[in-house]
């Protein structure tokens, strides 16, 4: 028996595989495919205070080994979430994390304060890095200053642990991670999607109604893995790694590079049971390699 438990300090997970926000609906969409209790946890779709329309379609374009999305964080808002959705997904034997969004600092705080009054949420994942909502990908995670300010405010307000989800669209992701950490982040998750674009040559128009979107999937894995390594090798808080994880091997590479847990995103679209398959592959690899506790391999990358 492999000990799969993952330890984020502020949160113990039964295993290091979570489903990533925006790629796992509100969780229940996947119940026909597997028992949610198998997962370490899942992060529900980004939530604003009120309901949100999202962007006009087309919202998706497939690229070589990747997917550009410009959903625009369509969602039901905290009220409907806590009334209709949360009761169905809490207490199911897996950690529920909420991906928190806001148009400004106040909205982030309002979301957290509202949700704090409701049971069944293990932690917040602060989405300061969605490239699809403001013009040309602007978001708080592009600057250490806005990151620190926002994280500080949310931490002050929140009763729960706060994981800060970073953007890869930056020159120095370590600097942003440090700002988040210094402002009190309990953990860091990265990466969100890469600001990208696709052009329809025949119409000479962007393929996405929103013009820009966020690239995810195996295409971005090598950049995501680099960033996770850069941050994890310096951070004081635990790191959750993601970006293009499709297999157990991918996931293990992120763990070796320093992530304490991983999130599976786009892979959930390709295979509804991808996250549990990845978990099984991790377990098999550990078995075959005499690793009895998965967490022992976290950060074991040897350099030089």
């Amino acid at each position: 028996m492999i000990d799969l438990a993952a330890d984020l300090g502020f949160l113990k997970l039964k295993n290091p595989v979570l489903a990533a926000s925006g790629t796992f609906g509100y969780g229940s969409e996947f119940e026909p495919y597997f028992d949610l209790a198998k997962l370490g946890g899942f992060v529900v779709k980004g939530l604003y205070y009120g309901p949100r329309e999202g962007n006009r379609p087309p919202r998706l374009v497939e690229t070589t080994g990747g997917l550009i999305n410009a959903i625009g964080l369509q969602g039901v808002g905290v009220q409907a979430f806590s009334e209709k959705i949360l009761p169905k997904i809490r207490g199911r034997g897996t950690a529920v994390l909420v991906n928190v969004c806001g148009a400004d600092d106040d909205e982030y705080v309002a979301v957290v304060e509202f949700l704090d009054a409701h049971e069944g949420i293990a932690a917040y994942e602060l989405n300061i890095s969605c490239p699809n909502v403001k013009k040309e990908g602007l978001c708080p995670a592009l600057s250490p200053r806005t990151t620190a300010r926002l994280v500080g405010r949310v931490k002050d307000a929140s009763k729960r642990p706060v994981i800060v989800k970073l953007s890869p669209n930056v020159t120095d992701v370590v600097e942003i991670a440090r700002a988040a950490e210094d402002a009190g982040a309990d953990g860091i998750a990265l990466v969100n999607t890469f600001l990208a674009m696709a052009v329809d040559l025949e119409t000479r128009r962007p393929k996405l109604a929103n013009v820009f979107g966020g690239l995810s999937g195996p295409a971005v894995k090598p950049i995501a893995l680099r960033m996770v390594y850069q941050v994890a090798s310096r951070a004081r808080v635990p790191v959750i790694g993601m970006g293009g994880i499709m297999t157990g091997t991918d996931a293990l590479e992120f763990l070796v590079a320093g992530a304490s847990a991983v999130e599976v995103g786009t892979a959930n679209f390709v295979d509804p049971d991808a996250a549990v398959r990845i978990l099984r592959e991790i377990e098999e690899w550990c078995g075959a390699h005499g690793v009895s506790r998965v967490r022992d391999i976290v950060g074991t990358l040897e350099i030089g």
């Binding site: 790629t23 609906g25 999202g54 919202r59 374009v61 080994g65 997917l67 369509q74 195996p218 390709v270």
Partner: protein, 265 residues
């Protein structure tokens, strides 16, 4: 069983860019309803990355049939599969057309344009089984674009074909053909699948003549299971309109719930 990784291609038929695949998959065959679709992985690995949505063209205890037109890389790869090849399929998915005892003895028009004919064979069969009197309308650009006409005829359906260039059947748009037939005698129900302009025109014809109508919508789909919010159309609900996931709440919607102005051409 919602993921069938052991589906197997039994046989293929091809007409130009069109393909009919007969697939062994008891789990899919037994559970599929008309208007539902499957998500099929064209090739292992990352290119193309996503599954492709295809309507269930027919279903039975042994498996399903798919009918499609080669539109790009994914469908081209599927078109190259050979009998015996394994297929990786998620489904059946979505909410299909209404097939109920209430249509017993009623006249139902099933209207398909181009590859949009795909779900209508299964539908017509089930409607007929429920006692409805079905007329199938099948439109294409040329005679080469209505390859399934023999199949519908052999199955004994009343079939009216149209081609834009007049190379077979009615010369003109299938919507005009449907309009003519509605003029001759209003059906009790109408079901359609095809290009947006066709469905939009049909929707207004149906509204004018007060024929209840259902339409199967298309969209680029990320997941097919309601997880990505990629496949939205503008759908009316409770007085308002919202971007609604067609993979979950559709792909079939009553005509009066679809906000046509917000969508397509």
């Amino acid at each position: 069983m919602l993921i069938d990784r052991n589906a197997r291609l039994r046989e293929t038929r091809s007409w130009g860019d069109y393909r009919l695949l007969g697939i062994d998959s008891p789990s899919l065959g037994r559970t599929a309803r008309p208007g539902q679709f499957v998500m099929i992985k064209a090739a292992e690995g990352a290119v193309p990355l996503l599954r492709r949505p295809l309507s269930v063209h027919d279903a039975g205890p042994d498996g399903i049939e798919l009918f499609f037109k080669v539109a790009g890389r994914g469908t081209a790869i599927l078109a190259g599969k050979r009998p015996g090849d394994p297929l990786d399929i998620v489904g059946p998915l979505g909410k299909g057309f209404t097939v109920s005892g209430a249509l017993n003895g009623k006249r139902v028009f099933c209207v398909g344009g181009g590859r949009g004919i795909a779900p209508l064979f299964f539908l017509a069969r089930m409607l007929a089984g429920a006692g409805a009197r079905v007329t199938v309308f099948y439109g294409g650009r040329t005679a080469a674009d209505i390859p399934l006409k023999d199949k519908f005829e052999k199955a004994g359906f009343e079939l009216l074909c149209s081609t834009d260039d007049g190379s077979h059947g009615f010369a003109g748009l299938v919507t005009d053909l449907v309009g003519r037939e509605i003029g001759r005698g209003k059906p009790d129900h109408l079901c359609a699948c095809g290009p947006d302009p066709m469905m939009k025109a049909l929707a207004s014809k149906a509204r004018e003549s007060r024929v209840p109508a259902e339409f199967s919508l298309e969209s680029v789909m990320g997941c097919g299971i309601g997880a990505c919010w990629g496949c939205v159309h503008r759908i009316k609900s409770g007085g308002g309109e919202e971007w609604t996931k067609i993979c979950e709440d559709g792909p079939v919607f009553p005509g009066d719930r679809i906000a046509w102005t917000e969508w397509g051409t």
